[in-house]
């Protein structure tokens, strides 16, 4: 069996396993929820915890010393 045929078979398996969404009707008006979100005070921009900065520094150091990780990082983004 060629790769193309196998991929086709995989597509068919996926279609059998995952059904398309049938009912996409919105049951309620979301405007009240929207208004609440608009009225929320903006989040302060300086609330990044110290351990997030530590994690970011570690990640930056890892990328600096092991540039081979960069493609893997892009792959997962």
């Amino acid at each position: 069996m060629s790769n193309q045929e196998i991929d086709k078979e995989m597509e068919e398996l996926l279609k059998q396993a995952v059904a398309p969404v049938q009912d996409t009707e919105l049951r309620r008006d979301l405007w009240p929820q929207m208004l609440r979100k608009l009225e929320e005070p903006p989040l302060p921009t300086h609330n990044v915890p110290w351990f997030d900065w530590a994690l970011a520094s570690l990640a930056a150091a890892a990328l600096l010393f092991f540039p081979g990780l960069i493609p893997a990082l892009f792959y997962h983004l």
Binding site: M1, I6, D7, E9, M10, E11, L13, L14, K15, Q16, A17, V18, A19, P20, V21, T24, E25, L26, R27, R28, D29, L30, W31, Q33, M34, K37, L38, Y75, H76, L77
Partner: protein, 175 residues
């Protein structure tokens, strides 16, 4: 002053009109990507919040519907990126009818699991193209990438799915 001009100028009433005109469509599009009604509702609100926040960047002679769909797709993609490791399979998974019973429950679960482990950007295009059978052109427009890149991502998604499925359940390996 036209509705879109008023919206771009920050008129909340104009935004409400646009919200009510487009909320159903944005919700339906988002639901087809995330496949959960509660999450789709939250993401619809998030989409319109982003729309309102970036209203100044919208050109009133532009296509609001296409712009909203692009933002909704990005919001859904952000959700898939952050939620991909939190997926648990429900007891009664919705599945397509299989008259010949070709796909067993176990195989179906394995496919679901493998599918949810795909990187978000691949899962998004595979869901829209293969499950929802959306046209490549529409997917390209909504994701902001070229049609040929959509095809490449669908192709890669299928290949990744095959590999993942083979590693999860060797007995459902394709020949």
């Amino acid at each position: 002053m036209q509705l879109l001009e008023r919206f771009a100028a920050g008129d909340l009433e104009a935004f409400e009109v646009l919200f009510r005109q487009h909320q159903k469509e944005v919700y339906a599009w988002t639901l087809r990507i995330v496949r959960d009604t509660g999450i789709a509702e939250d993401l619809t609100v998030e989409t319109f919040w982003r729309i309102y926040k970036h209203r100044a960047g919208f050109k009133p002679d532009g296509n609001f519907r296409a712009w909203a769909r692009r933002i909704a797709t990005n919001a859904a993609l952000d959700h898939l990126r952050h939620a991909r490791h939190e997926i648990t399979l429900p007891e009664n998974l919705p599945c397509a009818a299989s008259p010949d019973g070709a796909v067993s429950r176990e195989t179906r679960d394995s496919i679901h699991r493998a599918f949810h482990e795909l990187p978000a950007k691949y899962r998004l295009v595979a869901t829209l193209a293969l499950v929802e059978e959306e046209s490549y052109n529409n997917i390209a427009e909504a994701t902001g990438i070229s049609e040929s890149l959509v095809k490449v991502r669908v192709f890669r998604a299928v290949r990744m799915l095959r590999k993942k499925l083979n590693s999860l359940r060797p007995e459902v390996q394709t020949k």
